[in-house]
Amino acid sequence: MNAQDAQDAPDAQDAHLTREELQRYSRHLLLPEFGEEGQRRLRGSSVLIVGAGGLGSPLALYLAAAGVGHIGLVDFDLVDASNLQRQVLYGTSDVGSRKLEAGSRRLRDLNPHVRITTHDTRLTSGNALEIFRGYDVVADGTDNFATRYLVNDACVLLGIPNAYGSIFRFDGQASVFAAPGGPCYRCVFPEPPPPGQVPSCAEGGVLGVLPGMVGVLQATEVIKLVTGIGEPLVGRLLLVDALTASFRTVLLRRDPSCPACGTRSLTELADYEQFCGTGERQPATGSREITPSELAVRIGRGEDLDVVDVRERHEWDIARIPGARLIPLGELPRRLEELDRSREIVVHCKSGARSARAVALLEESGFERVVNLAGGIARWSQEVDSTMPRY
């Protein structure tokens, strides 16, 4: 943990706002529902943002601008060029930097009154409670199911409200979970989908403005929770549809059988990788993986391999492995007859998830010589051909 405190940050909730703060927050102070009391509550609050990505960027920027006194950030990643389409916390010059270093620099520039604590680590069952403890609100901006269940359970165990947001392609969801009397994430989705069924944004894409829309909704909920104004999204799930510009709210209820907030049989954090089936991957019987370097050597030797790319055509048009042929995963079940069962088949996608499903499908269909390309074409572009376009 790397705690960095801004200088002269007045963190006493009851101290009057300084002259500088009065000026900075004047548009809040003019709101009768908000006023100086609301601003002091914001200043006295601690908010943890888990994930400094598409959702975490607008969350952090708006909460810092609004004057939340203490913002914690959890992330372990570096800024990648492909982040910049939506992760507005970073600039081009930050590519390659640690996200939390670049992000906290930007936030301190935006508002030096805010104290920033960086947790430059992967959130795990072993560290989540320690990291979360002491924060008033947690905002979930993570990008995978395992961490979402972890964030939920840690919030329920500690009694910290979770300003939740989630996105995929053109659709977004927002709610407030684990608030007193309200439902939690498990009440809505008791179990995660099997791995591979719902692609990540890295595989399936996301409209760049969508995390902006949803992250700002989360920031709005954080501000309402902290200041006590309005009606937070407790017991409601807000569905955002960017394509039709429609917002719909459905009602949520606490599930009495929910192991986290209902029966409370869940008394400690679990193994979420195992729960989501995303832990140490168990290859299907007989299936193997091959690394891009190994595949390049074998192609170079002229070995007889059928390299099958199961991505979508628009991805194929961006970059392809020489000698590969395209059979999108959705078409694979009806195109099995195009494959020669006697040949060794190497299946690949962008990063290895879809191709793992393809391998399982082929093995279920009786193919015995199927190999998955570990890390997909993304890893090929790192290990074998650095001139290959990345996306």
Binding site: S166, D171, F189, P193, D241, T244, L251
Partner: protein, 91 residues
Amino acid sequence: MPLIIHLPAVLARLAGGNRQLTVEGRTVGEAVGQVSAAYPGLSERLRDGQGRPYPYVTIYLNDRDIRLAGGFDTPVSDGDELIVVPAVAGG
């Protein structure tokens, strides 16, 4: 009884691009069964091999979770709306 099923963009691709489907049925399960028959690709995203709802795809009748009513046995009325909400995790 005709009712409307609303699909998110990600599932509409499996229903010929339709975001809304008008279907008939006396229960949620019958309505889901009808769209499943019309769009087999969508079927496996709405119900499992035994025809049961998934724990990671929540269906709301109007604005209420069918799990808290009667699941797929929940009766529907003319003009009801079903909203399909799959779990997504992107951030």
